[in-house]
């Protein structure tokens, strides 16, 4: 499902080279739930961006869903991303559209048939327990509801891989717990999950395989 082989990423800030990841290698099999743990600045987000080709490695090879990403052209990247759901610390919901429209928007841009859009959007909303808030605008949602809507948007295409970049980072424990439960439910449906968090207690509490990043290096692979 995912394979990183001796991956390094260096950002250039003018003449200064800033290493974000150094010599990272690991594999994730289909249907696995992997927690990526590390402090802020450890390289979690950079690593996740490599998985959906928002960044390219400076060295090494990344393979996702059986595709070596280095060889992908623009169309290949688009095709890859259609099978990956991504959620972030902030929900990134479009403010001028309702919850329903935010989720249906994804299907519409991908050319899904109109009749199918309604059914699949409500399926995704039910999966995150938000179907009663379909007509609400993002500003009318709590942070937890916003993240659940973002999750619904990520899974509405029924992706094989869900990438969650600190989705509970802005939430209190109760709301964070609700989001985690939704992600567990999605995983139990067969979706591979890569879940990034800086919260050590949360990483341990999930009782899953944990990859620990420190200063851009993979220092532990527990589980």
């Amino acid at each position: 499902m995912i394979a990183l082989d001796r991956v390094s990423k260096v950002f250039s800030v003018g003449p200064v080279k800033v290493p974000a990841l150094t010599d990272v290698s690991f594999r994730v099999v289909k249907g696995e739930f992997v927690v990526l743990h590390g402090r802020s600045g450890a390289g979690k987000t950079t690593l996740l961006k490599l998985l959906y080709r928002a960044e390219v490695p400076s060295e090494g090879e990344v393979e996702v869903l059986g595709e070596p990403l280095a060889k992908l052209n623009r169309r290949g990247v688009a095709s890859l991303r259609q099978n990956i759901g991504v959620v972030f610390q902030d929900s990134k919901l479009l403010p001028g559209r309702t919850v329903y429209e935010n989720i249906a928007f994804v299907l519409r841009v991908l050319g899904t048939a109109r009749g199918e859009i309604t059914a699949r959007t409500f399926d995704a909303l039910r999966a995150v327990g938000l179907h009663s808030r379909a007509r609400a605008y993002p500003a009318q949602l709590s942070q937890g509801e916003g993240q659940r809507a973002a999750l619904a948007r990520a899974i509405v295409r029924r992706p094989s891989l869900l990438i969650a970049d600190e989705p509970t980072g802005n939430l209190d424990d109760e709301m964070g717990g609700e989001i985690l439960q939704v992600i567990r439910d999605i995983h139990s449906g067969g979706t591979t999950v890569v879940f990034a968090t800086h919260q050590a207690r949360l990483a341990r509490g999930l009782r899953r395989r944990v990859l620990v990043l420190e200063g851009g290096r993979l220092v532990k692979d527990e589980g």
């Binding site: 990247v77 688009a78 991303r81 099978n83 403010p95 928007f105 994804v106 519409r108 841009v109 050319g111």
Partner: protein, 294 residues
């Protein structure tokens, strides 16, 4: 999908707000200028064509030929390149024509001792001979004939009118081009603002793997809509202006240019203006560049 793309294009147009309105106005002005000059040029062209049809070159003869010699001379001149038709005018016919022209003052011609008017050949140039260069060559050929005393009936002023027509066309295209560039830049600005306003949509679209065409097409469409609206307004403005101005200008045009009526733009030119507006808008939409998302 088409419905989605068109819906997004109109949503983008609303987002661009006043800048989009400015772009539409600029496109209207640029195409309005082009249309006005095309209108002038088209009607001047018609006047030039009408005057060319009426163009005559007169070859005054040294001596009045006999009837047989006149017929032979007519046949000879008909063979000269650039000649369409030839009519022989005898001295007597010339005098009669002069009297007709003088009308009530015709008695003045009676006081002349004898007929001072020469016999002549009235030459109608062919299409080839009616062009400024063709007419010059024709006059040269006719002047070289031994029977010719003098050749009159240049095409200088028709030539001047043709030059004026070209100048009007060039001026129109020049003004139109300058305003057109301004219009493209304004549409580009409007589209860039749209790109900024829809950066979150674009980010989500790229994140979920939307094809590049789906991301760019609404921008192109909203540019084209601005262009089409600008062109439509320009044509409506021209039509309204024409309906007011034409009745007032027609008498003047009849006297000065011999045009019985002024015509509006032909359908082909109206279609061309609409197409030009669409292309201007599309170019503006295509040239816009926002912050490139991953």
């Amino acid at each position: 999908m088409v419905r989605f793309l068109v819906g997004e294009a109109f949503r983008d147009l609303r987002r661009a707000g006043r800048v989009a309105v400015s772009a539409i106005v600029l496109i209207m002005l640029s195409l309005g200028a082009v249309g006005t000059f095309l209108l002038l040029s088209g009607n001047l062209g018609k006047a030039v064509a009408a005057w060319r049809d009426r163009l005559r070159v007169v070859v005054y003869l040294k001596q009045e030929p006999s009837t047989a010699a006149a017929s032979a001379l007519v046949r000879k001149v008909e063979g000269v390149p650039g000649v369409g038709a030839v009519r022989y005018v005898s001295r007597a016919e010339a005098l009669t024509a002069l009297k007709q022209t003088l009308g009530k003052d015709a008695s003045a011609a009676d006081s002349l001792t004898g007929n001072p008017l020469p016999a002549s050949l009235e030459v109608t140039p062919s299409a080839e001979g009616a062009t400024p260069e063709g007419a010059r060559q024709l006059v040269e050929r006719l002047s070289a004939m031994p029977e010719a005393e003098e050749v009159a009936g240049g095409v200088e002023w028709v030539d001047k009118l043709a030059r004026l027509q070209r100048l009007v066309t060039i001026l129109g295209l020049g003004f139109g081009a300058v305003l057109g560039v301004a219009a493209i830049l304004t549409v580009t600005t409007a589209t860039t603002l749209v790109l900024h306003a829809r950066r979150y949509e674009t980010e989500i679209m790229r994140l979920v793997g939307a094809p590049e065409l789906t991301i760019r097409l609404p921008l192109l469409l909203q540019g084209m809509v601005q262009g089409m609206l600008g062109a439509a307004l320009a044509l409506v403005g021209l039509a309204v202006g024409f309906s007011f101005a034409a009745p007032k200008l027609e008498p003047l045009m009849t006297v000065t240019l011999g045009l019985s009526r002024i015509d509006f733009l032909p359908v082909t030119q109206m279609v061309a203006i609409a197409a030009a507006g669409t292309v201007l808008g599309a170019l503006g939409g295509l040239l816009a560049r926002g912050r490139r998302e991953a």
